[in-house]
């Protein structure tokens, strides 16, 4: 491989990781934009999403990478996989919001954040106790079609991941830009007080933010499985830290910002993995987070969160 091919290959990998991080970052950004809350539960909602996706695919009799599907069955299985993991995670998100966070909404201080940390442990350990710590073989029914571009390999799974991520992000953009509820969400992010006075139902807005964010985390969990062919109980932390960094990098609260940030973080990760070594990629990502927060807290596209001062 020449340096150019290597670069291209890492760009392909980075874009796929980036698609996953973007979807996950959207969940952070939606909730933060509306409530100014870092939702630590999101880390493990993502992990649970990947487990739900795995169990769903296994329910179709798929295991490992032996069973390859094509045509309509493939599309059907993937659609059901995404639908179940997204709805499942969405409902978990709604439950967290409705039962554990809503009672705390008027409480000042770190109570809500501590609750999400607690929920994160609970999700993690429930999966740990039921499914164990071992790395699981994530069923992957995609045919191993790939194309060679110069010296780099573009696999079908990467194209698929890009397409799915683009569809979901396009859908979300449409939702927040044009629908009534989406506009209400943006209004609440700007000024919750004013939005309420204009008749926006804040409960509904917060709940939709949790549903959408968590559903995207579910999709992201399924993509993780399809990309790495594995599911594991401790994947939440690293992916979540990257996604949160992506959200901050793009400008927290900012929907296009989360998408851009996710792609950049994906590219940075694959690049730094190549250059410095994978063991240190957490340090690199984290360094970026600190640098952005210190020098450009508004992120690349500008922060969009309620101003509570």
């Amino acid at each position: 491989m020449t340096a150019g091919d290597l670069f291209l290959q890492q760009a392909i990998n980075g874009l796929s990781l980036g698609a996953m991080y973007s979807l996950l970052a959207l969940g952070f950004t939606l909730v933060y934009g509306i409530m100014e809350l870092i939702n630590f539960a999101h880390f493990n909602v993502f992990m649970v999403g990947s487990m739900i996706a795995m169990l769903t695919l296994q329910a179709f009799g798929l295991s490992g990478q032996q069973t390859i599907l094509t045509g309509l069955p493939l599309v059907g299985v993937l659609l059901v996989g995404f639908a179940v993991s997204m709805v499942g995670c969405g409902l978990i998100g709604v439950a967290i919001e409705r039962f554990l966070l809503r009672p705390l909404r008027s409480v000042k201080g770190p109570a809500a954040m501590i609750t999400t940390i607690g929920v994160s442990y609970i999700l993690f350990n429930l999966v740990l106790l039921t499914l164990g710590t071992d790395s699981k073989n994530f069923p992957n029914p995609l045919p191993s079609i790939s194309w060679e571009i110069g010296g780099a390999v573009l696999r079908m799974r990467e194209v698929l991941i890009w397409v799915i991520a683009l569809v979901l992000m396009g859908g979300l953009t449409y939702f927040v830009t044009y629908t009534k509820l989406g506009k209400a969400m943006r209004a609440t992010a700007q000024d919750p007080e004013a939005a309420r006075m204009m008749g926006v139902e804040v409960d509904q807005v917060v709940m939709s933010a949790f549903f959408l964010g968590s559903a995207l985390a579910g999709a992201s969990g399924m993509i993780f499985g399809l990309y790495y062919n594995l599911a594991k109980v401790d994947i939440g932390f690293a992916a979540g830290l990257r996604a949160f960094t992506a959200a901050v990098l793009g400008g927290i609260g900012n929907v296009p910002g989360a998408m851009l940030g996710g792609v950049l973080i994906g590219l940075i990760e694959s690049g730094s993995g190549q250059l410095i070594g994978a063991a240190w990629s957490d340090v690199v990502i984290f360094g970026i987070l600190v640098l952005v927060l210190v020098f450009r807290p508004a992120g690349l596209l500008g922060r969009l969160a309620p101003n509570k001062s």
Partner: protein
């Protein structure tokens, strides 16, 4: 003065004494424990529990006192541990040269030979490492803290989470320094006058006990001092804290560094006891366990976190294993095989999560709350004895010399928020000893004017001079140090603190006690504290008995009007030269407004220059020598109250007489 102060703050000593007595009893009990409980395993568990208690005490300073959510606290534990480990084990051995000889002479290193060239073996004494480990960790605490402590609290949480992870990654991957995942071996145990601690738990138990006692003592001393009040003020309301003269960055750094120092010392102790160090000992599970200990016991509650630490340790080392045995027995009795495979110890983290969630939902103040409940007032105490000024006890407020010139000189100040011009070239003067009122409709820029004077908002251009000192560019706490104190339109008190504590925080900038003074409490500090309390009580008494009987109540328990009064008292406590009052009578009934207007007038007669935002024109007319009218960021009128009241432009702005714009 008819105020009936039934309980004076000196009575609060009773509470402290009770607390002290309890501590002494607990200390004696635990000191004697090994005499009648001679089980090495249990003592070992207790010594571990004490390590976690010291860690929880340190985290409590950061999270409980200063309100900084630190999710990577185990990093400092690791730093202390590896510091001691590296300097007593055979991990790092530079080649010997004679320049090491002086260190060898004092016993910090020794020359060894493992077949090859001579090498240096570090032999740092435990007793030196214990305090210096604290210092090293504190250094890293400041290093980590400096870039991120300016961030909002919620970002701090995720950044500290990352720091915790990075320190662990370093421990795992810097093989030459830490021996990687295998960990450091051959860490030396402590020696005392030739006695080697060895592997028995008892000596470690005593060291742990002394450490806990010491850190409990330090925590209490800090909490009841100027330092502790500053932290709690930051925890309750950063903006108000900085406006009351507290340097946010300095005090956050101090909390971070002290918390880290506690952890570093514990790290030294922990590793000396185990005589090995692996990265897993400091993983995020430890940070999360410590957070659970603090939350369970009560954030900010010293006894609470000690109890929380001991409870969780008991749960992990005794209760869960014991419960596993019971369930297994139950399985045998009932013949249900599934019970035989249950291992409750694996549930630990799940239980942690459940504890966090349940505590936040149902008992946020923790098992032993930091805030004491206060008895309700008697009817007699609740009866208002109104004082309409005529203050005597406050004559220490500085006097102005009439007609000496301009106190506050604001020139062409422009403040823009994005495209919105909040203040457009506003100029105004407040003469020494004057009372100037700023009026104007909502959104006219009045509060922005106060914010820009006090450093909460940056000006785009212009100048604000107070007694010749340029205030623009100063941090809020520096503005206060220059003698400018303010209140806020939407009252910003330190909610979970008492009336007295709120007013004492107002004095922050005029007191000098540092962290060492707060802990050692020499006569000078005791004197300063009692003077500060006396001054605060004098100010509280300014409002008749409205606040005096309530000095020990949390401000959340007060009525709206009383909260306004506390805010004014807090501002006056800082011995300001000029007082900025933002709608002081908002929400008060006419009688209360008048009462307060008289009191403000009395303060003015005592020597305060006053700049006032007010809507009630009768109050303005009663107080002000000069009125400034703002509208949409422009100054549209200025003059005597009666003149301004009749000004066409003002009437239009206020009442829309000539049909708006």
């Amino acid at each position: 003065m008819t105020a009936t102060a039934t309980v004076h703050p000196s009575a609060a000593l009773n509470h402290q004494q009770r607390s002290l007595l309890l501590a002494a009893l607990a200390f004696i009990f635990f000191t004697l424990l090994p005499q009648f409980w001679d089980n090495d395993g249990d003592l070992d568990s207790l010594a571990n529990a004490m390590s976690y208690a010291t860690l929880a005490l340190g985290l409590n300073i950061v999270v409980g006192f200063a309100g900084l959510l630190d999710l990577g606290y185990a990093a400092f534990f690791a730093i202390g541990a590896y510091y001691y480990g590296i300097f007593t084990s055979f991990q790092v051995m530079p080649p010997w040269s004679d320049s090491w000889a002086p260190l060898a002479y004092v016993g910090l290193v020794e020359k060894i030979n493992q077949g090859g060239p001579d090498l240096v073996h570090f032999t740092l004494s435990f007793w030196i490492a214990l305090p210096t480990g604290g210092l090293v960790a504190a250094f890293f605490g400041m290093l980590f803290g400096l870039p991120v402590l300016r961030l909002r609290g919620d970002y701090l949480a995720i950044v500290t989470l990352g720091f915790g992870e990075i320190v662990q990654i370093c421990a795992r991957n810097l093989d030459w320094l830490t021996n990687g995942a295998a960990g450091l071996n051959g860490v030396q145990g402590p020696k005392l006058f030739g006695y080697r601690f060895g592997v028995h738990a008892e000596p470690y138990y005593y060291v742990g006990l002394v450490l806990v006692a010491f850190l409990v003592f330090v925590s209490f001393r800090l909490r009841g001092s100027r330092i502790g009040r500053a932290w709690m003020a930051i925890r309750e309301d950063e903006t108000a804290a900085s406006a009351m003269g507290i340097s946010l960055v300095n005090y956050k750094l101090l909390a971070f560094a002290l918390g880290a120092a506690f952890a570093g010392m514990t790290g030294v102790f922990f590793i000396a006891k185990l005589q090995t160090a692996t990265p897993e000992m400091f993983n995020s599970a430890v940070s999360s366990m410590l957070l659970v200990m603090v939350v369970l016991g009560g954030m900010g509650s010293v006894w609470g976190v000690v109890v929380g630490a001991i409870l969780l340790q008991l749960m992990q080392t005794w209760f869960l294993p014991q419960m596993t045995v019971w369930i297994h027995d139950l399985g045998k009795m009932t013949g249900i095989a599934a019970f035989g495979h249950v291992d409750m110890v694996q549930w630990t983290q799940l239980i942690f999560g459940v504890i966090l969630v349940l505590m936040m939902l149902f008992r946020r103040e923790g098992l032993i709350p930091a805030v004491r409940r206060v008895a309700p007032l008697s009817m007699e105490q609740q009866t208002a004895h109104v004082v309409r000024g005529g203050f005597q006890g406050l004559d220490k407020i500085g006097r102005w010399t009439p007609g000496t010139g301009t106190a506050l000189d604001i020139k062409d100040v422009v403040v823009k928020f994005g495209g919105l011009v909040a203040l457009n070239k506003v100029s105004l003067q407040v003469p020494e000893g004057g009372v100037v009122a700023v009026i104007g409709p909502n959104g006219s820029g009045k509060s922005t004017l106060f914010n820009v004077i006090t450093g909460l908002v940056e000006a785009n251009s212009g100048s604000i001079k107070f007694q010749g000192v340029e205030l623009l560019g100063l941090a809020p706490h520096q503005v206060l140090e220059n003698g400018v104190a303010r209140t806020f339109q939407n009252i910003r008190l330190f909610s979970n603190l008492t009336v007295l504590e709120n007013v004492l925080i107002g004095e922050h900038a005029r007191l000098t006690t540092g962290p060492f003074g707060a802990v050692i409490r020499p006569p000078s500090v005791i004197k300063e504290e009692s003077r500060a309390t006396e001054w605060a009580m004098n100010i509280i008494a300014m409002f008749g008995n409205r606040l005096t009987p309530r000095w020990d109540q949390p401000v959340t328990a007060l009525s709206y009007a009383n909260r306004r009064r506390v805010e004014i008292a807090r501002a006056i406590a800082s011995r300001p030269k000029i007082l900025l009052l933002d709608e002081p009578t908002a929400g008060m009934n006419p009688a209360e407004s008048l009462e307060l207007a008289e009191q403000i007038k009395s303060l003015h007669e005592l020597g305060l220059t006053i700049l006032l935002i007010e809507h009630k024109l009768d109050v303005v007319t009663r107080l002000a020598d000069n009125v400034i009218v703002l509208d949409h960021g422009d100054k549209i009128a200025e003059g005597l109250p009666d003149v301004v009241r009749k000004d066409e432009e003002v009437l239009r702005a206020y009442l829309g007489r000539s049909g708006g714009h």
